[in-house]
Amino acid sequence: MSEAKVSIKNLYKIFGRKPADMVAHVENGVSKADLLENYGHILGLNNVSIDIAPRAIQVVMGLSGSGKSTLIRHINRLIEPTAGQVVVDGDDVLQMDEAQLRDFRRKKASMVFQKFALLPHRSVIDNVAYGLKIQGVDAGQYTKTAQHWIERVGLSGFENNFPAQLSGGMQQRVGLARALATDSELLLMDEAFSALDPLIRSDMQDILLALQDELHKTIIFITHDLDEALKIGDNITILRDGAVVQNGRPQDIVMSPADDYVTDFIKDINKARVLQVSSVMGKEQGIKGPSLEANTLLEDAMQSVIDSKANGAVVTKNGKKVGTASLAAMVKAIARAEKTGDTETYR
């Protein structure tokens, strides 16, 4: 992994009358519930440190109220932290003065919102051009750019409609095009697809992934939906009560959840569609079967092992053998028993 694009260091956010005085309590281990009960303050973020890799999709996941929106709003400083640091491209966002911050928001970080937050009195094309107009780009240029992004998100023909005339999915395409039009490298998406119907949501995920294949932006994507997180995340951070409980690749999180909270998240997913053969690979001898690339999903791997009536597969990387995976190991991985009896705790 190269140098981090966004580096969040020991970030605390406490809501209330005297937040600064509360940091010490939180550092001493006072929980979110106790802080509210005994000190009348709300713990938003608790010592969050994350390095976010460039040109990849970083997902932040957690239940409602876990601090996801609060965290993402620190990156473009829509919220001021109580303590900590946010560094983007080596610049400390918290040290910027008003003009620098405006410039940062105009050119370096754009945002997509859960409730779309389009300008209701402006047409689709004017909404998409909004960021450019704010920057003072001239009309010919911003019309051309906006038109381009409207086409890219599949909204050609709707340029002159008002947002209220569009369906939710189409409105969020406008939101996405608006964010892409400013050409900033950082894309902040706060539950951008959560308000959409499942089918439309899945479409939007596909659109985002297709665009990302080409654009390679640094995307910070908030969601409370694990399926969504696994589908689009290159890396996933899980928040609980404002603190990071686990941070890792989707594989790692599914294979070894850090605690019951995470276990509870992953208990209903189809692991065969997430895990790759590499995650169950070993050095076991005597396995004969098809050769499969390390990133083959277990779902496909088991199918081809069974089709060829073998007892496992030979795992390869770029065609070279790196290990073996027995059918038994594959089955065991997806059938891994839930050990907890109280999975309702966090619901």
């Binding site: 473009n76 928001r105 105009r106 919102f113 300008l119 608006r178």
Partner: protein, 296 residues
Amino acid sequence: MSFLTEIPTMGRTDLRDFKKGIDDSFREFTFNYGEVIENFFEPLLQFMIWFERLLLAAPWPIILIVIAGLSWLGSRSWKLTVGAVAAFLVIGYLDMWEDTMATVAIISVATLLCIGVGIPLGVLMARSNRAQTIITPVLDVMQTIPSFVYLIPVVMLLGIGKVPGLLAVCIYAIPPIVRLTNLGIRLVDRDVMEAAEAFGADYRQKLFGVQIPLALPNIFAGVNQTIMMALAMVVIASMIGVKGLGVPVLRAISNQYLALGLLNGLAIVALAIIFDRVSQQYGKRLQRHREGGHNV
């Protein structure tokens, strides 16, 4: 026991001196600053005189065409346009044309003045809670105090004439536009404001690009109410020298001329209805973009 039956009072002489003190100091203020204040309002006076002359000098068919044009532009309704023209024809036929023009002149100028002062005040109130807590009670007083009470200092300061009349009308009519501008801006969707912020909009871009456009339907409701209240002040303003439909009404009251009072009163009502319907229709059209109507 008299303590319980009679509320303690200040004492006759003290009270008299107290009132006299206020009167004297205000008189002194008038004496010292009356002219400065009059000079300050001079351009407004000239504008009012010019506008009234313009309305009176213009041939009546042209005025009717302008009225028809404005009604159409505002409401896009043939019924309203025809109704407005017919009302003005009847007014002219009953020989109330000149008074009506004078009233239209003062209402127009008063409305412009209220908009010019009221919207910035409303913006200020929306921006700062401090400003809101200071301005709100002042507006309450302006709306509830009997208009005769503030006519006294206005007349002391500026005498009788157009400008004091205009001020009296504005004091009475300005609160709704200030309140509704404030309310409209405060009601603007916070998510949309956050989006503007996130894309790096500065204060002016947020105010003119998001807040005012989205508050416009409310601001317009304020303008509408301001016009209505200004019309309601026409009769009282004529007591301090404002020409217009209020003058014959006053004459009718003191001489018990029923028909005169009724006709001029009805002319005021006609003006009110036309202004109200046209500005309401216009306000509605400002909200067109809110209609969903999935034409998709």
